[in-house]
């Protein structure tokens, strides 16, 4: 049983080896799941009742069979399904996701241009959601069954019950229109010249450009959408933190820490919280699904030029290359997050067993 020692993480060397094994195994499985994702996304568009040609051909021209036939040929819609599938997969391998019916640009170009905006929003929301959720969860657990606990519980239930697009509109109305303390739509004031794109993150690019006014503006634009988006996951996170903290605070090593003379903040953060990092990481990565879902809606409300609003436009106009592209990218981001989570587990918990 040479593997047994490494599973238990006997020491750092073997732990690293087990980790590597695991990542390799996941790496081998990944192309298959990816192919599944691509196939499913592709098949989805073939069950359609709507004619995708309506996206490229005007209503009048739809009556002209010549134009329709030409368009069909132009977009490859006249070929049999298996052939279209093979062509699509083949192109995909070369990084070609086809051309968007609407923007007439390659879908991959559109996505690359828009992904950073979504990443910036989702990342900011994840940070806000995690920080707020963990804080509320810790407070609720420590002051269990008090008013603080009840407020935290209500806050989290609200977060998972409120329609995010409505919340976005409401906050826009209150803070941007009524009090005028925060800017409205978009990533940056249109009257400002945007910084040169380096990372694609507006906040970082403005900093790199050394333009503090633009940076403050970009940051202010980020506040409302990321708060709205973050709130939806803060509730889930805080509930999980609370439940796990209640359990861990009953454990004996907490008494040991107090008997050592540790203060309550140290007991809660360093001793108790560190023990629940694994489930917390799980729920944060799991919340990624909600954040993507929420990002689609948040981006449409705040006119955020990311992948989410791109997906909405694509879905509304039956822009199938764009729809498949977005869906595949979403699935891939999902896979990557899950893999990163697994790696984080091992770093957070010395006793984790990989199997």
């Amino acid at each position: 049983m040479p593997n047994d020692r490494s599973r238990r993480g006997g020491n750092r060397g073997t732990l690293g080896k087990a980790m590597l094994n695991y990542i390799l195994r996941r790496g081998i499985a990944m192309p298959f799941i990816l192919l599944g994702i691509v196939t499913m996304a592709f098949l989805l568009t073939t069950v359609t009742k709507g004619d995708p040609l309506t996206a490229v051909v005007s209503e009048q021209q739809m009556n002209n069979p010549e134009i329709v036939a030409a368009a069909r040929q132009r977009w490859g819609l006249d070929r049999p399904l298996p052939e279209r599938y093979l062509i699509y997969v083949g192109n995909l391998l070369r990084g070609d996701m086809g051309t968007s019916f609407v923007t007439r640009r390659p879908v991959s170009t559109d996505l690359v241009a828009r992904l950073p905006a979504t990443f910036e929003l989702v990342l900011a929301a994840m940070i806000i959601g995690s920080v707020v959720g963990i804080l509320f969860g810790l407070l609720a657990a420590y002051y269990r069954d008090t008013a603080i606990d009840q407020v935290a519980r209500l806050f989290s239930l609200f977060g998972s019950s409120v329609p995010i697009f409505w919340m976005g509109l409401a906050l826009l109305f209150v803070f941007s229109v009524y009090f005028q303390v925060l800017p409205g739509l978009g990533r940056i004031d249109p009257r400002m010249s945007p910084p040169p794109v380096i990372t694609g993150f507006m906040t970082i690019d403005t900093l790199l450009a050394g333009d503090m006014t633009a940076f403050r503006d970009a940051l202010a634009h980020l506040v409302l959408p990321s708060f709205v988006l973050g709130w939806t996951v803060a509730g889930t996170i805080s509930r999980l933190v609370r439940a796990n903290m209640l359990e861990v605070m009953e454990r004996e090593f907490i008494l040991t820490a107090r008997a050592k003379g540790a203060g309550e903040i140290r007991v809660v953060l360093r001793h108790a919280f560190r023990n629940i990092l694994v489930p917390v990481l799980t729920v944060i990565s799991y919340s990624f699904a909600y954040l993507i879902t929420g990002a689609v809606l948040t981006e449409s409300v705040f006119a955020w030029p990311g992948v989410g609003s791109y997906a909405v436009t694509a879905a509304r106009s039956l822009d199938f290359p764009a729809i498949i592209g977005v869906t595949i990218v979403g699935g891939v981001m999902f896979l990557i997050t899950n893999l990163l989570t697994d790696i984080a587990y091992v770093l957070a918990n010395p006793r984790v067993r990989l199997n």
């Binding site: 238990r8 090593f253 008494l255 050592k260 023990n275």
Partner: protein
């Protein structure tokens, strides 16, 4: 023959607990878990605190250090080196805990933080009471401590996690952590109960050894009179939240002056005894909310009279003993077993 306890009793002791009460507020009022506990321990002394689980022996010590559960109500007096601990600000209690008074617990696996290395946990104990200590110096001290508790190859062990240690080694780590700041008092709560029999003796010898080396006072909380017999100087027997008998260890075993102590001693297994003859005290310890009136022990007592059902006995001095029994002075002579004294409860042949 009997005399009330003098107010000055144990007044010079390192730790002196007087009339300590710990209760839990429940739906039907307060449930008393510790009822007027009196204890003291002097420098260099080993005090054995004996009782069944749930008797309040651990809770009393925890509450003395401010480590009780949040819903517990504590009153009474606990003086450490003459300074009152009850009602002390939490901050000041924290400064005492782990520095001048340390504790170790029953199960070293669950008492150590599973996600911190052993070295970090001991270092933390040092750091908490000496923020100026450099990391290098702290590591040096951790290594010395691990050597002190006879952990082989401390260099390799310092970065390992608790689950990589055996039970006995973990308890040594706990002890190293407890003595890290040269405390004056070490409270060991069932330190060997969760360990293998062979390891138990090693740990007890180590504690005694450290006591002599470091000049500690040791409070040894246990349910096992056998452990106390071998290692304590003085013994306090606790039943239903109060001390029912206290004496020097030799005298306690030679001539127990409380029926409960007699029952406990009679139930120590002896090599010469076959298992079916093993004595056990009839009945079960009382539930928190259902303490019997009068003497809490009377339903299980072979000597119980009417007065025991009505009046809770005060603690009296009987010779060199202190005993909380109405008949402390007039109990029949002790012959090492309950067979003759209480035939109806004794082991039948």
């Amino acid at each position: 023959m009997t005399a009330p306890i003098a107010e000055a009793d144990g007044v010079d002791a390192l730790l002196r607990i007087r009339d300590l009460n710990v209760g839990f507020s429940g739906r039907n009022g307060t449930l008393p878990a510790v009822r007027g506990l009196d204890l003291h321990v002097s420098r260099g002394e080993v005090l054995g605190v004996v009782g069944e689980s749930g008797s309040g022996k651990s809770l009393g010590m925890l509450a003395s250090l401010g480590l009780q559960a949040r819903n517990a109500l504590v009153s009474g007096s606990v003086r450490f080196k003459g300074q009152e601990l009850i009602g002390r600000p939490r901050r000041e209690l924290r400064a005492l805990r782990g520095a001048q008074i340390s504790m170790i617990f029953q199960d070293p696996l669950s008492s150590l933080n599973p996600v911190m290395t052993v070295g970090d946990q001991i270092r933390e104990a040092l750091y908490l009471h000496n923020r100026q200590m450099t990391k290098q110096k702290a590591t040096q001290r951790v290594l010395d401590l691990l050597r002190l508790v006879a952990i082989p190859q401390p260099q390799g062990r310092i970065n390992q996690y608790p689950h990589e240690f055996s039970g006995g080694m973990r308890q040594r780590v706990m002890i190293a952590m407890a003595v890290a700041n040269d405390p004056e008092l070490l409270v060991a709560d069932e330190p060997t109960t969760a360990l293998d029999v062979t390891v138990q003796a090693q740990i007890m010898l180590m504690l005694r050894d450290l006591k002599d080396k470091l000049g500690l006072a040791l409070v040894l909380i246990t349910h096992d009179l056998g452990v106390v017999a071998g290692h304590a100087d003085r013994v306090a027997v606790i039943y239903a939240g109060r001390v029912v008998e206290e004496a020097a260890v030799r005298e306690l075993f030679a001539d127990p002056r409380h029926p409960y102590t007699r029952g406990l001693i009679a139930s120590i297994p002896k090599l010469t005894m076959s298992e079916d003859k093993l004595y056990s005290i009839p009945g079960a310890p009382p539930m928190l909310g259902a303490l019997p009136g009068g003497c809490a022990f009377h339903p299980r007592c072979a000597y119980a009279q009417d007065v025991c059902r009505k009046v809770e006995p005060p603690t009296h001095r009987v010779g060199t003993h202190k005993s909380a029994c109405h008949f402390a002075a007039s109990l029949p002579a002790w012959n090492g077993g309950l067979g003759a004294a209480a035939p109806e409860n004794g082991a039948n042949d």
